[in-house]
């Protein structure tokens, strides 16, 4: 049981694309989608792979799901190699690649699940039993006999998760499971993910929803331009980055006497709303900022310090990069 649930070891994947120059000319361009990507996920934990669009999240997921071969490196699910033992990996891994794809529109939700159960070798009766249990788990019991094509996007997303669990895998990978969902549906998906984690499943989620990653994940890796640029718990990532704490103050007094460390955001009825950023490398502290205000004859009515969010950390580490 000492093995990691998921391991990516020096994964490299290159693609060739063609840039069209006019009607007939094209130039070949090699793109490195993954550049020595390595990370590992502990059993029973929720791991987040964060990155901007085009960073390599889906390529990583497709390699770990045995759908794509890397140029070099390897991945391991429950200790089984994704390149050399794909059939064993498929037995212990459940994957959601796209929340609204992968089903027969003309079959009901339950029929679709039974179909996938049988693809994994379950008997019809076992498949029906497991499908019913999973429909309960994802809150689709009442809609189980409706055609899939009549499902809303949120229902399709929940059915996708049920499909990934049909063979009771130990490890589940979800690629952008809440993408495009309304807040209510997204909350239901997050609740299912937490439920999975509490049942001892290892869950890996890719997302660029920072808040979601912060509330769901025990550990996070940030991927950018095909490289893992940071990984750790949310707190570790916050310590790693140079993202600023934000000091917000409500102050009364002469606007011309506001210290340069502050920005006046707005003035309402003579009360100024000020903001200042503090990084670990700054040579001023919160106390010093308050002293500066008081020394200049300004009356501090209220003051709050907001810790950097994961989004602040992400933007600090990744910069403004986004392929799309």
């Amino acid at each position: 049981m000492g093995r990691k649930a998921i391991e990516a070891v020096d994964l490299v994947k290159r693609y060739s694309t063609y840039i069209r120059l006019g009607l007939f000319r094209k130039v070949r361009r090699d793109v490195t989608a993954l550049d020595r990507v390595s990370f590992s996920v502990d059993r029973g934990s929720v791991f987040g792979l964060l990155g901007p669009n085009g960073a390599g999240k889906t390529t990583t997921v497709r390699i770990l799901s045995t759908l794509l071969l890397p140029d070099s490196g390897d991945g391991y699910i429950d200790g089984f190699s994704v390149t050399r033992e794909p059939d064993r990996v498929k037995r212990v891994l459940g994957v959601v690649l796209s929340v609204d794809k992968g089903f027969y529109g003309k079959l009901t939700g339950r029929e679709n699940l039974v179909y996938y159960g049988m693809l994994y070798g379950l008997s019809r009766s076992d498949s029906v039993r497991v499908a019913n249990d999973l429909l309960d788990l994802v809150g689709l019991s009442e809609s189980r006999d409706r055609l899939y094509e009549e499902y809303s996007l949120g229902m399709k997303a929940r059915l996708s998760i049920a499909k990934a669990l049909i063979h009771d895998p130990d490890v589940v990978i979800l690629d952008e499971p809440t993408l495009g969902l309304d807040p209510v549906s997204a909350r239901k998906i997050r609740s299912v993910i937490r439920d999975l984690s509490s049942r001892g499943k290892t869950v890996m989620v890719t997302t660029h929803n920072m808040w979601e990653a912060e509330v769901l994940c025990d550990r996070i890796a940030i991927i950018s331009s095909g490289r893992i640029i940071a990984q750790g718990s949310v707190d570790e990532l916050k310590r790693m980055s140079n993202a600023a704490r934000v000091v917000e103050a409500r102050v009364y007094g002469d606007p011309s006497r506001v210290p340069p460390q502050f920005v006046v955001e707005r003035v309402v009825d003579g009360i100024m709303y000020l903001k200042a950023s503090l990084t670990d490398s700054s040579d001023v502290s919160v106390d010093k900022l308050v002293s500066m205000l008081r020394d200049r004859g300004l009356k501090v009515l209220a003051l709050s310090v907001r810790e950097p969010s994961l989004e602040d950390v992400f933007i600090d580490l990744v910069g403004g990069e986004s392929v799309v």
């Binding site: 498929k90 003309k106 996938y116 693809l119 070798g121």
Partner: protein, 266 residues
């Protein structure tokens, strides 16, 4: 062993369910086959209106039966090809091919199995359309001719399935669903469904000789229209040998495409 078949039974069952819920589409497929056979038969009648000329050109004296055998067989093979490639294409577009690839099921076998419901439907259509010829053969040449011609059709369908899997792989790897139209056109031109293949240019005759469906049609005509058992058996052996060659080649190519598919992704 039966447990190993479960996934493929599930594919067949789900395909049947989908077909059953798309009755208008199913009816349209059946109608298209009938229209296809009807239009081509009428065209053939016009071209071979002089029975003596037709007999001199083909060695058979009835253009109706001659073309009915050819067109019915080619229609079945075309439906097999198009249903398999269509399955691959729709599975790819709907994301189901990814989901299928995530299960321990062989995608190649899944594609082949997926055409079984369509094949059964088409065999029904085939049986109905060719029944006048079968009745004629039973009364004129006996049971053996009919059984051997059906055996030839079954053996000849093996390479058609291999073609189907290979086309599906091309569809998945290169995302080129139109390839099936090209192969269908080649099948139609080279199979001799409407005319004897000796009218083709030399190079095309060679290509036609390498196509199993050509031999299926020839064997079936020999047996059902002329009762030539000796020719039928000889043609059947040729067809069986050719099918074995296709199975071996198909195995190599499918493995090659399979690894390419995993390297490039769907």
């Amino acid at each position: 062993m039966f447990r190993g078949l479960r996934p493929y039974l599930a594919i067949v069952e789900s395909q049947f369910r989908v077909i059953a819920r798309e009755v208008p589409e199913l009816i349209s497929i059946v109608l298209i086959v009938y229209m296809f056979i009807g239009v081509l038969y009428l065209g053939g009648r016009l071209i071979g209106s002089g029975n003596e000329l037709f007999s001199a050109a083909t060695g058979y004296d009835d253009p109706f039966r001659y073309q009915l055998v050819g067109v019915s067989i080619i229609a079945v093979s075309m439906v097999v090809l198009s249903s398999m490639s269509q399955f691959a294409n729709t599975e790819m577009l709907s994301g189901r091919i990814d989901s299928l690839s995530l299960t321990p099921v062989s995608v190649n076998i899944a594609i082949a199995v997926s055409s079984i419901p369509f094949l059964l439907a088409m065999l029904l259509v085939f049986g109905l359309s060719i029944s006048p010829v079968i009745a004629y053969a039973l009364s004129s040449y006996g049971f053996v001719s009919v059984v051997l011609s059906i055996a030839a059709l079954v053996v000849g369908m093996v390479p058609v399935f291999i073609f189907g899997v290979l086309i599906s792989m091309v569809v998945l790897v290169y995302k080129a669903p139109q390839i099936v139209n090209l192969v269908q056109a080649l099948f139609f031109i080279l199979s001799g469904a409407l005319y004897p293949i000796y009218v083709l240019p030399h190079i095309l005759r060679l290509a036609a000789g390498g196509l199993p469906i050509t031999h299926v049609i020839e064997v079936s005509r020999s047996l059902l229209l002329a009762g030539a058992l000796e020719d039928g058996f000889r043609g059947f052996y040729t067809l069986a040998t050719l099918s074995l060659v296709y199975v071996a080649l198909g195995y190599i190519l499918v493995r090659r495409f399979g690894s390419l598919l995993r390297y490039r992704g769907v």
